[in-house]
């Protein structure tokens, strides 16, 4: 909502300057988004009279003008084609700051002739786009009249954000009332004295809505005006509308716009000579069409409120008038419409048809039902002032709805909810200034009645807000929030803790944390099991599927980074994945991918591509960080289809798959634009068993042996397909004396028979009570060999 200072002053008796007004608007809930000077920066510019025009001796297109100003006569070079002897324009003296450039005007010499100032164009003054000629202010203003006055400039212009609950803030009068309540002056009431009717309005109005939907238009007022003279509005109105961003059209149309902004009272003017018969209102039928004032044709839905004459639809109620009955310069007889339309229906219709109009904006937030009838006179007076003519009688259909409410209010409620204390007089003063009626019941209690323009105030808390914001939020005492105990307590639940530790554990392994969109493309989702949930109105096709896995997002990130020559990507994310189209149909997951080298390329380490076992390591690190007992994990090699079938696995706890890992299926490389191979894991946090709350923090005592350990290496020959994991597990359990088992070689090739591999295992054994003797060692070795043979047919390599 834009409003100019002079316009505001027509509703508010005030001495406050623009800065104070702007600051106050923000302080009471109408955030000032900007102040445009519009003439407020034209000090020093004034009307000059061109008393001589000669051809510039050295330039065909330039004139040498003699200009009489308040400070004397100057010789000015002018290039404008419209400069002529006797015209009055805006003179900028040397040194004045030109608004469009922000630089001071310097004395200059053009083609050998000195120019002692400038005659300005609208664009140079920042008040319009016209740059073809200099401003012509007409004959009326005297020499030396300040530019802003001569041009009737409406600056400064306030740009105010109006919250959706405050329809009344979309009128200059409403803002003036707020400022008056905030102490910046006195509100001036609009002149809505009755205009006497010279004849009986010749048209009728009929509201033809079903009884249960009569709130679509509770009130419709029509007034006929005859013999008006339409044409351009006077300069002051044109300038006023231009200042707030509207285009002046004709006086009649400009008056409807003026009323919409001035009193938040949308009007419509029909050219009476184009309207056939009486007007009636009804709901549109599906598929009916309507040609608006914007010359666009709209196809209407059933249930949109329309205004009709004998020929059909002539206006879209509360949103836009029709092309067929619009006013133009030739209009002489007018039907003036003032109505109330249902906010919800108006909003729905406007949204459906994509029409944003000033009328819609106001109706959908709720206009003042108390100012429909007065507007018939308020607007008529303005039309007669600008266009003459005679006014007919007022025709009323429906009635003024009574929307005044009474609220029982105890001013202690203000203290309870805000900590502010106001006395009875202050409460009555503030509410009174805002238009509320107050009746004191003693002891701080009031019966408050709401004004007709305040649809938002229904209960005591609303009055608390009114009092607090006008008193000023600054006055609310900042009070610290106290904690119950002196020492804080842990506040994260087990799921939150797991995610916190997991993130830090994965980052510590060299993985970079990402946060990517929860929605991905359909094809990407399909590659990872398919989307279970989709967005009905995505902003683009590649953000439609709520991701069933975090891996496609990471896979796509690998592709994007590789496109920027960042081939070695190690990325992870902890976020929700979506499993069902219902509230809460999601589960926490963690996933990581690695692409390119397993470790950064370096002189000190052999270059090795990341493989499925790196992903397995990440998965185990993640599981460990969540506090899961790793011994409870069972590894299976049946991973989902988005993994390489021979290079992947899953970890299960009980029957639940808690994590998947492996090399991502090479067939996905094209979809995600990745080079080489990508490995990864995904962990489903919500499928993990709940951690048992630790009752005792104390660790079991350390049982470290005082006796020397013994290390023995074993080389086993096994089938090439035999799982090393089985061998290691079996060896580890072979004897109580075994402390540690390490696989230190996995070899196939020369010296190993075809179809076999050699697994070399280091075993450390140690007793708690003695130094191991040869017999102990022999016994362990025998048990290890036997266990390996039983587990996977391993033979000791000779």
């Amino acid at each position: 909502m834009k409003v100019t200072l002079p316009w505001l002053r027509e509703h508010l008796e005030t001495n406050a300057d623009a800065e104070t007004i702007g600051w106050t608007l923000t302080a009471i809930g109408f955030e000032l988004e900007g102040i445009e000077p519009r003439g407020a920066d034209l000090d020093g510019f004034s009307v000059g009279h061109v008393t001589g025009v000669r051809q510039h001796p050295n330039a065909d297109r330039l004139s040498l003008c003699t200009v009489d100003t308040k400070d004397g006569t100057f010789e000015v070079i002018c290039g404008a084609p419209n400069v002529r002897l006797g015209m009055k324009g805006i003179f900028a003296p040397e040194g004045s700051v030109i608004p469009s450039t922000g630089t001071p005007l310097k004395r200059s010499t053009i083609r050998g002739v000195e120019s002692q100032g400038m005659l300005c164009s609208a664009r140079e003054l920042g008040i319009g786009e016209d740059h073809d000629g200099i401003i012509d202010v007409g004959d009326e203003p005297g020499v030396g009249t300040p530019a802003a006055e001569a041009l009737s400039l409406e600056g400064p212009v306030f740009d105010v954000a109006v919250t959706p609950n405050r329809g009344d803030g979309f009128g200059v009068h409403g803002l003036a009332r707020e400022l008056a309540a905030a102490g910046l002056g006195t509100l001036k009431e609009p002149d809505a004295r009755p205009v006497e009717a010279a004849f009986a309005t010749s048209r009728g109005v009929d509201l033809r809505f079903p009884h249960e939907a009569r709130d679509a238009c509770p009130l419709f007022i029509l007034r006929e005006l005859r013999d008006v003279q339409n044409g351009p509005s006077p300069a002051w109105l044109q300038e006023r509308l231009k200042a707030v961003g509207l285009r002046p059209i004709t006086a009649l149309v400009d008056i409807t716009n003026w009323s919409t902004l001035d009193m938040c009272r949308p009007l419509h003017v029909f050219d009476a000579d184009k309207v056939r018969g009486d007007l009636y209102l009804r709901f549109a039928k599906a598929g009916e069409t309507f040609r608006g004032l914007d010359d666009k044709t709209y196809v209407l839905d059933a249930g949109m409120a329309v205004i009709c004459d004998d020929t059909g639809i002539v206006s879209l109620a509360g949103i836009m008038g029709g092309a067929s009955t619009g006013c133009d310069e030739a209009t002489t007889n007018v039907l003036l419409e003032m109505a109330l339309f249902d906010p919800v229906r108006t909003a729905r219709t406007g949204r459906r048809l994509g029409i944003e109009s000033d009328a819609r904006q106001r109706f959908e937030r709720g206009v003042d039902p108390g100012f429909v009838l007065p507007a018939a006179d308020y607007a008529t007076r303005m039309i007669q002032t600008l266009c003459g003519g005679e006014a007919g009688s007022i025709v009323v259909a429906g009635c003024v709805p009574d929307n005044r409410r009474t609220i029982a209010f105890d001013r202690r409620e203000l203290t309870r909810l805000t900590g502010l204390v106001l006395d009875d007089a202050e409460v009555e003063r503030i509410l009174g200034d805002l238009g509320f009626g107050t009746a004191s019941e003693g002891e701080g209690r009031f019966v408050v009645s709401t004004p007709t323009w305040r649809h938002d105030c229904t209960r005591a808390a609303d009055l608390v807000e009114e009092l607090a914001r006008i008193r000023g939020f600054d006055a609310i005492p900042a009070t610290p929030v106290r904690r119950e105990r002196a020492v804080g307590r842990p506040i994260l639940d087990s799921s939150q803790l797991r995610r916190l530790r997991l993130r830090r554990a994965l980052a510590a392994r060299g993985l970079e944390e990402t946060v990517t969109f929860s929605f991905i493309g359909e094809a990407e989702a399909a590659a990872f099991g398919g989307a279970q949930v989709r967005v009905a109105n995505p902003i683009s096709a590649d953000l439609v599927a709520m991701r069933p896995s975090l891996l496609p997002s990471l896979a796509a990130a690998v592709g994007r980074n590789q496109a920027r020559a960042l081939d070695d990507a190690a990325l992870f994310e902890v976020a929700a994945i979506f499993t069902a189209a219902e509230a809460g149909g999601q589960t926490w997951a963690a996933a990581a991918v690695r692409a390119g080298s397993a470790t950064p390329r370096s002189w000190g380490e052999p270059d090795r591509p990341a493989d499925a076992l790196d992903a397995k390591g990440d998965a185990l690190a993640a599981l460990e960080a969540t506090g899961v007992n790793l011994a409870s994990l069972r590894l299976e090699t049946s991973a989902p289809a988005h993994f390489h079938p021979g290079r992947s696995g899953v970890f299960k706890i009980g029957r639940e798959v808690v994590a998947t890992f492996g090399e991502l299926h090479p067939g996905l490389a094209k979809l995600f634009d990745w080079k080489g191979r990508v490995v990864g894991f995904e962990l489903f946090l919500d499928w993990l068993p709940q951690p048992k709350p630790a009752k005792i923090r104390a660790r079991p005592p350390l049982s470290a042996s005082a006796y020397q350990p013994v290390d023995r290496d074993f080389a086993f020959l096994v089938d090439a397909t035999a799982p090393a994991g089985d061998l290691l597990a079996a060896v580890g359990k072979a004897s109580d004396l075994i402390r540690d088992v390490t696989l230190f070689d996995d070899y196939a090739g020369k010296g190993v028979p075809e179809g076999k591999r050699s697994l070399a295992v280091a075993v450390r054994m140690q007793a708690l009570d003695r130094t191991l003797g040869d017999a102990d060692i022999e016994d362990v070795a025998r048990r290890v060999t036997e266990a390996a043979r039983q587990a996977c047919g391993a033979e000791l390599r000779q």
């Binding site: 946060v515 709520m546 189209a581």
Partner: protein, 356 residues
């Protein structure tokens, strides 16, 4: 006999001096002091000497032995030092080589800043609550006092779930207020960080972003506490003694009174300094929980009261850490992650500080 001892001593000392390496020195030692060494042999004759000679000779022989042992030890030390010196010279490496890399990943700023926020509010006794990204119209709008078709709903640019007109991607974390209040009896004191969604995408908007909700419900908390809480939070978060805040009246359907909060800052062409200067920057919306919301969750607004706020996590991350563009948060560009990310060992706490 005396000469014999002296000759032996002089011979051995000469040999010690002449030993060029540790092996030769050891041979010298064996030849002199070993089992069949010359001095050992001489000492062995002591037994057959007459007692009056034995005493004097024995003493002299011991003196010689000590002298030889000392000489051997000194020589050994010298040779060992020389040996080490030689080895050190031979073992030199190029220390200008880079060390073997030990990659350390970074945490996303959203994670770090979320944990900073949690650390501060935990200190004020707030717990962390969470709710689903996909929620129903009731939790996202109706229970929060958004009337059907109210323009305020339109302002939310809601994503809807296909085939489920009642389901939305939550447009704010305020859904968790409702879930918290419906899950158990007051008092409530929670913050709720999480992902939020609006179908809006331009230079300053992303269709997904992060908010943190705050909710405090009890029987005495008023708007002054809201101010105090947020002032304390901002000072702690921006790590200043105090930060100027401006509470502006505003409108949210689920609070009454409602306020938007601006933080004092100074903008220059090159940087934004939080906590000083004469500019204001909006950072959050807040207010006293609307009585209709309390009624919607079955609480009597005459008995229970409290405040709620909602703040953009990405936004305060951008302000605090000078990250210029919201959209870059979600692109997973490695260069960005490494530049703006946080070392995983830097756990934000109120006692050790939130950030380095």
């Amino acid at each position: 006999m005396g000469d014999q001892l002296e000759t032996l001593r002089d011979d051995v000392l000469e040999a010690v001096e002449g030993a060029a390496d540790l092996r030769t020195l050891d041979e010298v030692r064996v030849q002199a002091l070993g089992k069949k060494g010359r001095l050992t042999e001489v000492m062995r004759t002591l037994g057959s000497m007459p007692p009056e000679e034995r005493r004097g000779f024995g003493q002299r022989a011991n003196v010689v032995k000590e002298a030889l042992e000392t000489a051997l030890a000194e020589r050994r030390q010298t040779l060992e030092a020389a040996d080490l010196e030689r080895r050190l010279v031979a073992e030199g490496i190029d220390v200008t080589l880079p060390p073997r890399p030990q990659p350390l990943g970074r945490l996303h700023p959203v994670t770090q800043v979320t944990e900073e926020i949690i650390a501060i509010f935990a200190d004020m006794g707030f717990a962390v609550a969470e709710g689903p990204d996909i929620d129903d119209d009731f939790h996202n709008f109706t229970a929060l006092n958004f009337p059907p078709e109210h323009p305020a709903r339109e302002m939310h640019d809601t994503f809807f779930v296909e085939g489920q007109p009642e389901l939305v991607l939550r447009t704010h974390t305020s859904t968790v207020q409702i879930r918290t209040m419906m899950a158990g009896p007051p008092p409530h004191r929670i913050i709720a960080p999480g992902r939020t969604y609006r179908c809006d995408s331009d230079a300053t908007h992303s269709p997904m972003f992060h908010q943190v909700e705050g909710l405090l419900i009890d029987q005495h908390t008023h708007m002054g506490h809201l101010k105090g809480c947020l002032e304390d939070f901002c000072a702690a978060f921006f790590e200043r003694d105090s930060v100027p805040l401006r509470f502006r009246p505003s409108f949210f359907p689920f609070t009454e009174p409602s306020a938007e909060v601006d933080i004092g800052c100074r903008r220059t062409k090159r940087e934004l300094v939080i906590g000083e200067g004469s500019d204001w920057l909006e950072i959050l919306g807040c207010g006293m929980v609307h009585p209709a919301v309390l009624e919607n969750v079955g609480l009597d607004p005459a008995v229970w009261q409290g405040f709620a706020f909602g703040m953009g996590i990405d936004r305060v991350a951008m302000l605090k850490y000078g990250i210029p563009d919201l959209r870059t948060f979600f692109e997973a560009d490695l260069r960005w992650l490494r530049h703006y990310g946080f070392v995983p060992l830097d756990l934000p706490t109120t006692y050790a500080g939130l950030a380095r």
